[in-house]
Point group: C2
Chain length 338, copies 2
C-alpha cells in the first residue's frame, strides 16, 4: 500500500510499504475513503517536534472496515466507520466520565495518510454510520474525526452557550469549527479572530457575528471594546503558542472560560496572572469519540457541513504539496484523495 | 487608635496612628471585634513580596459599624458586620455573575489588624448579622471573612460534591476549611495532605476521611493509590507554590477539577503538561462576599465552627508574636484580641 512518511522537517514522502494488518485481536484495519493533513502535523513538519525516525503520518480517518480482529464485536467488514485520533476502550471510568482521549488504555492512532490503516481498540474507538454514506459526505465525516470534534470540545470547554459571547483565537480548521460549534451550542455572539479574508468568510458562514483582525494585546483590546470592557464569557484557543494562550486568557472576562485545544508548544502560564484573571481553564486532546454519534448525525442529516474547511484536494501521491500549502497558509486544510 | 504596621520583612509593629475615618460617601468605619493574621500576610513577612513603604496590615474583619458615609444605605452604626478582603459594589455584571472579587470597582481592603478600619463600598461589601452575636461566634465570623470563604471557593472551584473524592493540598487554615467545605458540599471522600499532627486532627474533625503525609511526587503516588490509580476528582490547592500547584494538578484524574486558592508566587504552569493532564483549572481571589450570607447563617445556627482554626490568641499589642508563631508554624492561625 502507499503511505505518507515524514523523514524529517519538511521531508514528507509517499512510499510503498507493507499493508496495514491486524496485530491484536482488538484491532480493525480500514480502507481510507480519503485522508487529510492536520494543523498539528505542521509542528513536526516545521521542526517544532523532533523527528528521530521515519514516522507514518495521519491521525484523522474515515473509511470502510477491511478486517477485524477476533475480539471485535461492534464493527464488521464492509461498514463505513469514523474514529478518533485517540484510540480508547470507551468502557473505563475515565471514558465513562466523558474523557475518552484520557482513557486508561489510550493509544495515539497514526498512519491514516495511507490506503489502509490499523485502528487499535476498534470496539471502543470506531463508530459506524447506518449505511455507507454518499461520497459527498466524506470530507465532513473526515473532519468529524478530529478538527470538528476538537472545535466542539473547545466550545464545550469554553462553556459556549445561550447568552454568551464567544471569542475564537485561531483561524485554522479547528478554530473555524469552534465557531460552528459555538453557533450550534446557541452562543449569542461569536467573535472570530482572523486576518485572512478566506478564513474570515468561512468563519462568517459558520456563524461568526464579528471578526477581529488584531492579534496579541491589540486583539485583546478589541475584544474588550466589543464586550463593554469586560472580555468574552467564553474563549476558544485553537493555536497552542504562548501568544495565543495569553491572548485567550486576557480576552476572557473574570469568571469566564477558556477552552484550549491548540497543542501546547513551549507554553508557560504565569501563575500569578492566571490567579488574578479568575478564568476557568480547560482543554487538552479532545474526547472526540464521545461526540462522534451526535456529530455524524448532524452531518448525515445535512444540518452541518464541516467539510467546507477543505479548500484543497490533491491525490495521495501529492501529500507533499498538501503539507506545503498548509505550511504556507495557502490552504486551510488539505484533503488527500485515494 | 492602635494599628499593626509592617515596615519590612519580619518587622511588624503595633503603633498609634490617626483613627480610620470616612473618606468617601460610600465608606463605612467599623470597630473590630477581633482581628487576625492571614497565611498570605506571611508572603511579605518572609520577604516574598517587597515592602517599599510601611503597610497597614490585615484584610479579615468583623465588628460593629461605627460610622457610615452619606450614600451608605444597607448598614448603619451599631450593626455587627462581616465583609470580604475585596471590597465590591455587588451590582456590576461581574459581581452578579458571582465574581465579586473581580468586581469592576474592586478594592483590596487593608488595615484590619487595628482597632478601627475603613471599608470602601460598604453597601456592596458588608453583610450585617440579624443581631449583635454572642462573643463566642467572633472567631468563626472572622474566619468567614477570608479563610472560610476562600476554602469554600476552592471546594466549589474543584467541583467538590456527592460521589467525589477530594484531595486538599495545604494544611493551613484555608486548606483545613477547604476540607470543611468539601464535607458540607457532600464529598464522599476527603484526603487531607498534611504532616503536622495538630492539623491532621483538625482536618479529621472537619471531615477528612484520609490523611496523606507525603508531598510532591510521593504525595501524588499516594493519592493515585487511594483512587484506583486514577487520581482525585477534585483537588483544592491552598498553598500557592510551584510544588503545591504541580502536586495538585498531578493528583487530579483526567477530566478532574483543580480549585486553586493559594496566592500564586513564582508559579509557572507548563502548558504541555497542563494540556495532556485534561484538568479543569479554576481559582483566584475568592468571591467571599457572595458566600457570606450562607456562611454567616451556618455559623450562627451552630452548623459549623470554622473558628477552630484559631489555635493562638494574643492581645493586639502582641501582633508581632502572632506573626512569628504562624511563620514558625507553631500556630495554624492567630487571633488578635482588642
Amino acid at each position: 500500500m502507499r503511505a505518507t512518511i515524514m523523514h524529517g522537517s519538511r521531508d514528507v514522502r509517499v512510499e510503498e510499504v507493507a499493508d496495514a494488518t491486524i496485530l491484536k485481536p482488538t484491532d480493525a484495519v480500514i480502507r481510507l475513503a480519503a485522508a487529510c493533513v492536520c494543523g498539528s502535523d505542521l509542528w513536526p513538519y516545521r521542526g517544532a517536534d523532533a523527528i528521530t525516525e521515519p514516522v507514518p503520518m495521519g491521525h484523522e480517518y474515515a473509511g470502510i472496515v477491511e478486517a477485524v480482529g477476533s475480539e471485535v464485536r461492534s464493527v464488521r467488514p464492509g461498514q463505513f466507520v469514523v474514529g478518533s485520533f485517540m484510540a480508547s476502550d470507551n468502557t473505563c471510568e475515565i471514558c465513562r466520565s466523558g474523557y475518552q482521549s484520557g482513557c486508561v488504555h489510550r493509544e495515539f492512532v497514526s498512519g491514516s495518510q495511507a490506503e489502509l490503516m490499523r485502528v487499535p481498540l476498534a470496539d471502543g474507538t470506531l463508530v459506524a454510520t447506518p449505511e455507507v454514506p454518499d461520497a459527498k459526505y466524506v470530507p465532513s465525516l473526515l473532519a468529524a474525526s478530529d478538527v470538528l470534534g476538537t472545535g466542539w470540545f473547545g466550545a464545550l470547554a469554553a462553556q459556549a452557550g445561550p447568552g454568551k459571547t464567544v471569542a475564537v483565537v485561531g483561524d485554522g480548521a479547528v478554530g473555524l469549527l469552534g465557531v460552528l460549534a459555538a453557533r450550534l451550542l446557541g452562543a449569542e455572539r461569536i467573535i472570530a479572530m482572523s486576518r485572512h479574508e478566506s478564513r474570515q468568510n468561512l468563519a462568517r458562514e459558520f456563524g461568526a457575528t464579528d471578526v477581529v483582525v488584531e492579534r496579541g494585546d491589540e486583539g485583546v483590546e478589541r475584544i474588550k471594546e466589543l464586550t463593554n470592557g469586560l472580555g468574552a464569557h467564553s474563549v476558544i484557543e485553537a493555536v497552542g503558542t504562548q501568544e495565543s494562550m495569553m491572548q485567550a486568557v486576557r480576552s476572557s472576562r473574570r469568571g469566564g472560560h477558556v477552552g484550549y485545544v491548540g497543542v501546547s508548544h513551549d507554553v508557560n502560564l504565569p501563575g500569578q496572572e492566571m490567579f488574578y484573571s479568575h478564568v476557568h481553564l480547560h482543554g487538552g486532546p479532545a474526547p472526540v469519540r464521545g461526540y462522534l454519534p451526535e456529530l455524524l448525525d448532524l452531518i448525515l442529516s445535512d444540518k452541518i457541513d464541516p467539510g467546507q474547511v477543505f479548500d484543497l484536494a490533491v491525490p495521495l501521491a501529492q501529500a507533499g504539496e498538501a503539507y506545503r500549502a498548509m505550511d504556507e497558509r495557502r490552504a486551510i486544510k488539505a484533503l488527500l484523495q485515494m
